[in-house]
Symmetry: C2
């Protein structure tokens, strides 16, 4: 990008050269909206609407129970896992699609403790995504004698001692977008004899993740953010192949049985990653996730990352150019390569500013206490959207719109 001041026309020129521009048409985006919350709920791929309709009206409605075979419902978790695996640098036999991120995290943490008998500490950081901490707390409370130890990021390496069974971190920080060095922290965990478990909620589908190259042991991820799987889409779990034989899941349901249709009264785990499945998967939501991943996979992770960095760079630069002097601070790393596909700003009136932006059709979100969070899904966002978002931000700030009383109350979800 040049250093001359950017104009709206300048950003439109970037769109003209965008190698991913063709994919925007694959999404049903509402007119008049700049959607910067794809890191919370990805947009609707056009193919998904048709696919879900077909699953409901044709597969369920007409083939009924026969669809488990005739329309391959029984293989749907495996099919989606196979699409997902390359996005996170895993082999197809290392990924399972099932349940929610929280439930999968429970499976993996419980499994990790059993892989490291005698070690009783789950190590993480206080700013990890809260639900990850909750799941670890719930498991620790259930098992007794297990401790969730939280230390600041800079102290993680030093805190890795022989008591630690598993280091549990979120790859991309949900507040700031800062990226942890997966390979280095995993190595540090391994040197201490611990396992490394990565939450990829804000990574998968947004930037290259190399679970294999980074020697990660375990990972979970979310289907409804950058993977565009739809609200509450099923999540995924990764277990490195070297742990498959010894890995025991605590959630032993029929779908993870070696012979699900034998109606054997004794649980016998399926070989490999399939034991991570538990109950019957929500087929409508799973079919939508398949469409989301299929659509995203057409972009290619490297092209996604290139465009993502260009988008967040443009945003940071335009905020500096258009919105200086209003008390905004950059809460994300300055270097694009050090952050995920989001930029967070700090402002004491962050909540009301986000509401004012939403009223103007620029949808980001607010995270307590003062973060304005903007996600840039490279698969459907344009450079000109970034310009328009910053123009709206400037207008909100210039007009002191945060002072409007209707922007100041708290809604249940922002």
């Amino acid at each position: 990008m040049s250093s001359v001041p950017l104009t709206r026309e300048g950003t439109a020129a970037l769109d003209a050269g965008d190698e991913l521009a063709f994919l925007r048409e694959e999404f049903a985006l509402p007119p008049g909206v700049v959607y910067l919350d794809g890191n919370s709920l990805g947009a609707l791929p056009r193919a998904t609407a048709a696919r879900v309709r077909d699953v409901v009206e044709h597969e369920w409605g007409e083939s009924l129970i026969r669809s488990w075979n005739e329309h391959g419902w029984i293989d749907l978790p495996v099919r989606v896992a196979a699409l997902l695996a390359p996005l996170v640098g895993a082999s197809v036999d290392e990924v399972a699609v099932a349940d929610s991120t929280s439930v999968n995290l429970f499976k993996l943490l419980a499994g990790a403790l059993r892989l490291r008998p005698g070690r009783k500490v789950i190590l993480s950081e206080p700013d990890n995504f809260p639900t990850d901490l909750y799941v670890a707390q719930g498991l620790a409370s259930l098992l007794g004698g297990v401790e969730l130890r939280l230390v600041p990021p800079a102290e993680l390496a030093a805190a890795l001692d022989e008591s630690v069974a598993v280091l549990m971190l979120t790859h991309v920080d949900f507040r700031t977008g800062a990226i942890h060095d997966m390979a280095a922290l995993t190595q540090a965990a391994h040197r201490a004899g611990a396992l490394a478990l990565w939450d990829l909620a804000h990574s998968a589908g947004a930037l290259p993740v190399d679970l294999t190259g980074g020697e990660a042991d375990l990972a979970v991820g979310c289907g409804y953010k950058y993977l565009n799987g739809g609200p509450g889409a099923p999540a995924f779990a990764f277990v490195a192949r070297r742990h498959h034989e010894a890995f025991e899941t605590p959630l032993t349901g029929w779908m993870g049985h070696a012979e699900p249709f034998a109606f054997d009264p004794r649980y016998r785990p399926a070989p490999g990653i399939a034991r991570l499945l538990c109950g019957t998967p929500p087929i409508l939501s799973l079919a939508a996730l398949e469409c989301g991943v299929l659509t995203l996979a057409r972009a290619g992770v490297d092209r996604l990352r290139r465009k993502s960095m260009a988008l967040t760079d443009l945003f940071v630069r335009l905020v500096a150019q258009e919105c200086s002097g209003f008390g905004l601070e950059l809460a994300s790393p300055h270097e694009a390569r050090a952050r995920g596909s989001q930029v967070s700003l700090r402002h004491p009136e962050g909540y009301a500013i986000v509401q004012a932006l939403i009223a103007r059709g620029v949808i980001g979100d607010f995270r307590t206490p003062d973060l304005l969070r903007f996600g840039f899904a490279p698969v459907y966002l344009r450079f000109v959207d970034v310009w328009d978002a910053v123009a709206s931000l400037r207008a909100v700030l210039l007009g002191r719109e945060w002072e409007r009383p209707d922007y100041r109350r708290r809604a249940a979800v922002t």
Copy 2:
């Protein structure tokens, strides 16, 4: 029903007097099919197709993240629970809709063991639904020192001693349809100081269930069978109000937090049943479940049960009238009031006979080793369907169609 031989016209006359006949039109049933597998996957309510389309195309597609508030996604689990509770004799604040049956069972079994410290036995029967046994085995293996003890139904009462934390039973047997006496067995459990946990997978939406009157402590149930929630629909969990304060779930996710949007690093359970929620629910599947329960609830549980008993009685009587001498045995209780909404028959060639029936458009299912299982969903089945099903069964038996090689191999799902 009279004792004169029944004809097809006679069964059609029963339909003319059917007080639930109006509801059949609410379902999208394929022509030429008699669907006797609603106990495995309920049929598609017409309203569901339109509703899911709206959720995908309008709510997700246009309102995007704002739908959590604007379209009430955040309250959807509570809304569905409120519809469901009266069907199982529970108060609306005692039912949570979340996850799969297996995952909910894990929550409740773990919670039950914590409500009865010092007691280490989960008591059940060997013929309980296999996934229920698997979940108990997985929990026992995780915790160590916990035992899943299986005794035949007749010995359950005697096996209830001071070591038993929880008696875990399926209300309606998935093979035979036999109904357990919930009130009597729960009382027996209570006399021994144990809790009673009921799996309502084959009860909810098929027959009156009185969790409150039966003094049940805990229950789980399935959304995709008689509730017509669609393939893999979310499941439900019941915790009697008297246990709410002390009940601890092991699966502590953000949706069950007292303040899900406070991003508090410490888990604090929501008051009451809401703590049973865990991760983000699959909204598409949950919206479909809401339609299924709404449609079913229009029937009224008592009318459903009356028609269900009349349907299964008719089937038993017609099988005796039309299919005697072919080696079929009734595997279900003879008395309609002693069985759920299904009839199971035994035959050494059961598998092939079921395939032959499916080829003729009569969809039941096979359960190993020799069970032909027929479910009678009273909300959409006609009496004449029962006649047609038995006529097809007679034709299969008369023609020895089970000898056809293409009916003899095993498919992955039957």
